[in-house]
Symmetry: C2
Subunit: 163 residues, 2 copies
């Protein structure tokens, strides 16, 4: 398994600025990226490549509007299953397209999933499907704040709370 090393101490303020700029728009040309952080284009290019090489940047993705794609309904589910049903349950859930996020948690409700659906009508089939593996608690997402990027307030002020 991959040994995930914390390399944040090897990052300077320019690296963080590059990361923040890429969070805002990952398709920003490297040249403009360099302008934003006060570097020449080749220097910025090498920085970004280094961030990829050391594993800070894993990849680049596109932000989509699920509602525009006909997937307006988001549901959060918690599953409580038995010890011997856990593995089969996870393997099954990994193959369910509607399950867009799957996390194992501490506690009795050991699985947390986020489900994307066109409407609540489609929810019934998913609940029945997953219910075979254990108790399911379902909650519809009424409103979701846009995910917060990992900025310098988090990376540097680790654990910093308002004083």
């Amino acid at each position: 398994m991959a040994t995930v090393r914390d390399v944040s101490s090897k990052l300077d303020s320019i690296d963080i600025a590059l990361i923040e700029a890429l969070q805002a728009n990952a398709r920003t040309p490297i040249a403009e990226l360099g302008r934003k952080v006060g570097l020449s284009q080749p220097a910025a290019s090498e920085r970004v490549r280094r961030l990829e090489d050391i594993g800070v940047i894993v990849g680049y993705g596109v932000r989509l509007d699920p509602a525009a794609l006909g997937l307006a309904t988001e549901v959060s589910m918690r599953v409580r299953t038995s010890f011997d049903r856990f593995r089969p349950c996870v393997e099954h859930l990994k193959g369910v397209p509607e399950v867009v996020q799957l996390r194992r948690l501490t506690g009795e409700e050991c699985l947390d999933l986020t489900v994307r659906l066109p409407d609540t009508v489609a929810l019934e089939a998913v609940i029945d499907d997953i219910g075979r593996f254990g108790d399911v608690r379902t909650a519809v997402v009424l409103h979701a704040e846009p995910p917060k990027p990992l900025g310098r307030t988090l990376i540097r002020g680790c654990g910093a709370r308002r004083a």
Copy 2:
């Protein structure tokens, strides 16, 4: 506000292929994108621009490894608060850097948050901070599957405008 229109019926198979390619790597040059889906560079460029214009593509982001940034601990929290404390709670949580995701749910535990931290030591302060607004149930994320992209298996109703 959110006049979110479902435009998935206006998307064809090529649009979905472009979206999937951008999910895999949002920094793919448009020219190579066109090669992947069997289109010339200008055609691919116009397609992508159209996907942006109609609101399917909201933006482009970078995927980071939180552990490499010194944020190895992920925590899922559920907050149960009272009617009059709800709004202040949300406003407060929106300003907490460690809260990277914030969703309002149906049911009694009306708030679901994901928190990013360097370690469990930093968790105590967050729990105490949020606990002022109501009952908090906390679970550490032991393992998270990589988020599943919204692919063609999910997006249906793609009325074939063209093949």
